[in-house]
């Protein structure tokens, strides 16, 4: 039986599974806040072992990179009607300022354009409610419908 529910609605219902199925997202303690059509909001809490600058206690920029990459990927997926394999083409991140020590980082991504082959996504990361004061901004492009067969990377390269 064909499921006519839009993919993003099925993703929103699956919610936590989007993170549970991704080992690195789980290791960082990411949480899906919301998934709507072509949009995703994901959070990660400050943690002692994720600090990037021991002098200031600020969370590592690498954590923000992974959070933004992950959230952009979920947003691209939420713009599809059926799941397909994707590959990140590129990711550009501007770090405007260090996140506040102890603050939860929230990434909001929007897939603003989907062509047959490429998804274009923009995202911002915040450490508070102020939408005019982001910590970082991201721009990503994903190839859609790549031939990513199950277990492909288990075989040695040609």
């Amino acid at each position: 039986m064909r499921d006519d529910t839009p993919l993003w609605q099925r993703m929103a219902t699956a919610g936590a599974m989007m993170i549970q199925g991704t080992p690195q997202a789980r290791a960082l303690g990411m949480r899906v806040v919301s998934i709507t059509e072509a949009r995703a909001v994901v959070e990660v809490d400050w943690r002692e072992d994720l600090v990037g600058d021991p002098e200031t206690g600020v969370i590592a920029s690498g954590v923000v990179t992974t959070l933004l990459d992950n959230t952009c990927g979920v947003a691209a997926f939420a713009a599809l009607s059926e799941p397909m394999s994707t590959a990140t083409l590129d990711l550009r991140i501007d770090y405007m300022r260090p996140a506040k020590k102890g603050a939860t980082i929230r990434a909001e991504a929007h897939c603003y354009r989907m062509t047959k082959t490429v998804a274009f996504v923009r995202a911002f990361a915040f450490d508070g409610a102020d939408e005019t004061d982001p910590v970082a901004a991201a721009q990503a492009a994903f190839m859609m419908g790549t031939s990513g067969r199950m277990g492909k990377n288990r075989r040695p390269p040609k």
């Binding site: 021991p54 690498g62 990377n153």
Partner: protein, 152 residues
């Protein structure tokens, strides 16, 4: 001339490792550094929780980005003769192929070490250095005492 920049003091691997081990996130990822002469290689030994796509399986793109970012930081630290940890301003990552569930290596090249900004290029590879899995280009803010005094 007396105000000519002093030759950077050589940083040895133990100084570099001390700086790196003080970064909890580097430990979280498990990044190790190897220094031969002035050539620095960062190594990310594979572990299961670095996976982003369990189907292929492939390393998380963010992890590969973070590895290259840390490599850039260590290379700048080396080029500066060991000062403070530089701060990332922006990065641009090209993903060239999916990261397999094996160890990953990265090397950085400081294109320009200015007074306040460093331009850096990094490549990450697995089997073959000539066939990188990802490349990064980024700008970093140098937190030298001089630059700090300037902003204060």
């Amino acid at each position: 001339m007396s105000d000519a920049p002093a030759t950077p003091t050589r940083v040895n691997l133990s100084e570099l490792s001390t700086m790196f081990q003080a970064v909890p996130y580097a430990k979280f990822l498990g990044v190790q550094l190897e220094l031969k002469g002035d050539e620095l290689t960062a190594i990310l030994p594979f572990k299961d929780d670095l996976i982003g796509n369990p189907m292929l399986p492939a390393l998380h793109g963010g992890v590969v980005g973070a590895l290259m970012e840390l490599t850039a930081v260590a290379q700048i630290f080396l080029a500066q003769g060991g000062k403070k940890i530089p701060k990332v301003i922006d990065i641009s990552i090209d993903y060239l192929r999916s990261g397999r569930p094996i160890d990953t290596y990265a090397r950085a090249h400081v294109t320009k070490l200015g007074r306040r900004i460093a331009n850096v290029r990094v490549e990450a590879w697995q089997f073959d250095r000539a066939d990188p899995i990802a490349a990064l280009h980024g700008h970093f803010l140098l937190k030298s005492d001089e630059a700090e005094a300037e902003t204060n």
